[in-house]
């Protein structure tokens, strides 16, 4: 029985079927980017275990890759592979296993986000590209602010959020991936507070480019037993901060991109953009920064294709924003445990394939075998 299972799992036919399905996913996932955008397509077809095609559940990218990994690993138990003659093939497959393991680690553990820093200012937070958070900031104390943060997975309708920092409860009424504000025409509900008195928050279809989506959230504050109890709404990137006053305590509430705090800060000294002379084609971008750790600055130059690596984080020159008299750099920040796997596995696979080719090719390219 055990042998049977290994035989099926390690069969090259299974590998072929996995490949065929993976190719289908790749084609569909590429073409659909035109309509639903890269991020949504990636979530649906590649980063998913199962996705629905109409009513039919189909295996997503992660299941297929996991199956391929199982196939490769069980293949190692085959006796006839461990021969000197097949050393090249064996090495290639070991490399393949490593590549897939690395991909798994990256898929599960890596995080990425962006940092926008103006010239002359500094930052120690990374904003996630996609995930949001609800921050309640207590600003009534002198000298420090107290942050209470709820992550996006908690934003389920009807979910009750509570924290010892807060003298009130929050009940999620609605979370929207993309939303817009509209002037309220009818008389506002007596329960509405803040922005919602004059505006209503409407869900709109998601944009193809996830960066253009403005998530919104509507929630109820209760249990403070003051006039502040009521329904509040927040939208990502709103210009006027939402305030909440309960007795002596003053809070600011904000729906923002999930922030990660770095154990060091980055200060932008100068951003430079060089064009090919007489053209609008950029030749290079670079940011001269100070990496400040324990109040000690270290000067670093981040360029296109030349990122800064520090404490498991990597910072890339991703983009820039040109202001009237000041420029801001946009750095992509990545934290990835699986980084080194592709490097090592590609070397291993290349060596294996080369060995295999070199041992087999001479006889394959001749006109007649003897």
């Amino acid at each position: 029985m055990k042998r049977e299972i290994i035989k099926i799992l390690s069969s090259p036919k299974l590998f072929v079927y996995c490949l065929v399905w993976l190719m289908v996913l790749v084609v569909v996932g590429t073409v659909s980017q035109r309509d639903i955008g890269l991020f949504a397509s990636q979530q649906r077809y590649f980063s998913s275990y199962i996705f629905l095609f109409g009513p039919i559940p189909l295996p997503g990218g992660r299941i297929v890759l996991a199956l391929m990994l199982t196939n490769l690993i069980t293949m190692l138990f085959k006796q006839n592979l461990w021969k000197m003659k097949k050393i090249g093939v064996l090495i290639v497959h070991l490399g393949g296993i490593m590549l897939l393991v690395g991909a798994g680690l990256t898929a599960i553990f890596s995080s990425e986000g962006s940092m926008v820093i103006e010239e002359g200012s500094r930052s120690n937070t990374v904003d996630d590209y996609h995930a949001t958070e609800l921050a309640i900031i207590n600003i009534s104390e002198q000298g420090y602010d107290e942050y209470t943060v709820f992550d996006q997975p908690l934003f389920v309708n009807g979910n009750n959020l509570r924290h010892e920092n807060l003298d009130f409860d929050i009940t999620i009424l609605e979370y929207m991936d993309n939303s817009t504000l509209e002037n309220r025409i009818a008389d506002s509900d007596i329960q509405y507070r803040g922005m919602l008195k004059n505006f209503s928050l409407k869900e709109i279809p998601r944009d193809k480019d996830d960066m253009k989506n403005r998530p919104g959230i509507i929630f109820q504050v209760s249990g403070s037993f003051t006039d502040s109890d009521g329904i509040y709404g927040l939208i990502f990137g709103q210009s006027i901060p939402a305030k909440l006053n309960i007795d002596e305590k003053r809070y600011i509430m904000s729906l923002q991109k999930k922030k990660t705090y770095l154990p060091f800060a980055i200060e932008l000294l100068d951003f430079k953009k060089v064009m090919h002379p007489g053209t609008q084609v950029a030749k290079s971008y670079s940011s001269r920064i100070n990496l400040i750790e324990n109040n000690v600055p270290r000067s670093v130059l981040i360029e296109m294709n030349k990122p800064l690596r520090h404490k498991g984080y990597t910072f890339y020159q991703a983009s820039f924003i040109e202001g009237l008299d000041n420029e801001a750099t946009v750095l992509a920040a990545v934290h990835n445990y699986g980084r080194l796997f592709p490097y090592i596995s590609s070397i291993i696979m290349s060596i294996g394939l080369l060995l295999h080719i070199l041992t087999n090719l001479p006889s394959l390219l001749k006109k007649n075998k003897k």
Binding site: T30, Q33, T106, P277
Partner: protein, 626 residues
Amino acid sequence: MKKSFTFALAFLSIIFFDYKGLNAKDLSEKNIPIQEQGRIKPLDTYARNQALAFYGKRKIKHEEISAIDWMIDLFIHPEKGLEQKIFNIRSPDIVNALDLEWTNNFHKYSYSEIFPGIQNQLPLISNIFDKKEEDRDLFENQLVELYQNIMKYRQIASSLSCLLPMFTVYDPETAEKLHIEPGQFTSYAHIMSHRGSLFNVSQNILTKSEESWTENEREVALLLYNLQQTSLDEFAQALKIIPPAKDDTTGLWISPWELLDGREIEPHQDRIMKSMEAYLVARYDNNSGAMSDALKSYRTGLLSSPGDRVKFSILEKETWLNKANLFTLSLVFYLFGFILLGISWMVQPILLKNVAYGSLISGFMLHTYGIYLRMVIMSRPPISTLYETVIFVGFVIVLLSVVIEYLRKDGLGVFIGSVSGSMLHYVGFGYAADGDTLEMLVAVLNSNFWLATHVTTIILGYGTSLMAGLIGHLYLIEKIRVPNNSKRLKSIYDNMFGVTLIALFFTLFGTILGGIWADQSWGRFWGWDPKENGALLIVLWQLMMVHMRLSGLAKADRFALGMVLNNIVVIMAWFGVNLLSIGLHSYGFASGIAVNIVLFTVFELVTGFGTYYWARSKGKNIKASF
């Protein structure tokens, strides 16, 4: 086999016999450096590209003059240039819109013919400019292009008018002030450099009434009026031929008219202006001695420029490359090889096959030398634009064909090499028709290390993959032709599998290297971007074929069909994903290519499946032994 190489040597020596004198120390007018689109190029390239834009060809064919001669004549006789029939208008709609007459065979028009029509259409043109580019239709695009060409032409025509000898004075005293002989003609630039000496006279002219002017004052007044007229050409700043000043930080070269805007002219710039003026005069007088003296002095001026030194040897190489047309010659040799191979199947098999092989090798050498020169000129690895990928894939396939022919010696390599080499050259010419093929790169691509590793590997992968597909075609054809010759079929199958393994190596390694580059510059190894997925698809397809063979799902016939279909995957990854125009990799933009991709796909499907089923029906009674 030795004979083939002898033939190749003979062919090449005939070609290169004509091209000596590459290392001339003197400056030729062709090699005058000019900055355009971010790089320093020879005037020859500039002229060819302008001719291509206006006229549709890299020389003025109906007048039998080269682009460089056309351009210099245009500098010397701007007014004649306005009458020259230089604008090729391909669309009758445009001709009608401009109130011109459409002639069937020769639809070339001059500036003076077109300009009134353009003026009448200015409201329409400004409307089109307000539209987004993707919303414009064909007519609107063509009209805008013609408008821009007309404006550019006017600029180029007037760009050296400040150096033409058009002014003189006969009064000895004034002449002396201007440092000329009385009656000697001189240029706007020369007079402007001595304009201070005319200050007193011009003050007199301004204060006195016209009747009381002296003879001398009258002459100066006329001169000033004429200078004023010429200064209207000030807008003509297209020709950036003068290196920047010493304290410049932008690296921007300047045009003669810009230099005359009142700024301080540095010695090297002055020398270049004066030499150019002398050259134009000598050329006008047809005095070849004076021309070469002027160019020598021009060269000295360039050499004394501050900043980056002008690399004359690079300019000369580019001019030579323009003239030599190596890829066209290479195409000729490929075609010649193909024809000879065809004839060899009927008469003189051994001799003609050797000559055909020699011809393929010669074409390959020229092909290689062309790629090498382009690398030297741009000082970067061989592939960075879509055009260059086409040229390089051709190179890879012909290289493999030469090797296979060397090993097999039965014409198979010559056949594949000559057919695919010619076809890819032909596709390449389609891309070259867009203008300068030596382009500058956007920031993310501007990395020689990654261009050399990832891009080259992946393109090697495309080339070898296509090669495997071609052998697949050949296998199926042979299976129909000689179903009983299992020895021959087996040897072709082996070749195909061998090339597939090489292809898999390059596509796999190239794709992973691409991931590593992405990890280095964007922070993620893999982002499911269309171009990445395209490359991945080739790898997956080839992995599938290899494992189908291993698991017995595919025997030789099916493997051959699989590799034929792999061609479609390669073309999709290579050109198809650019049509999606999404993702970070869409640098090679091409709009008319969709039709060609569809045609190619249909062709491969029909021939692939057609020959596959035909071969199967033929081979039914013969038991395959492998």
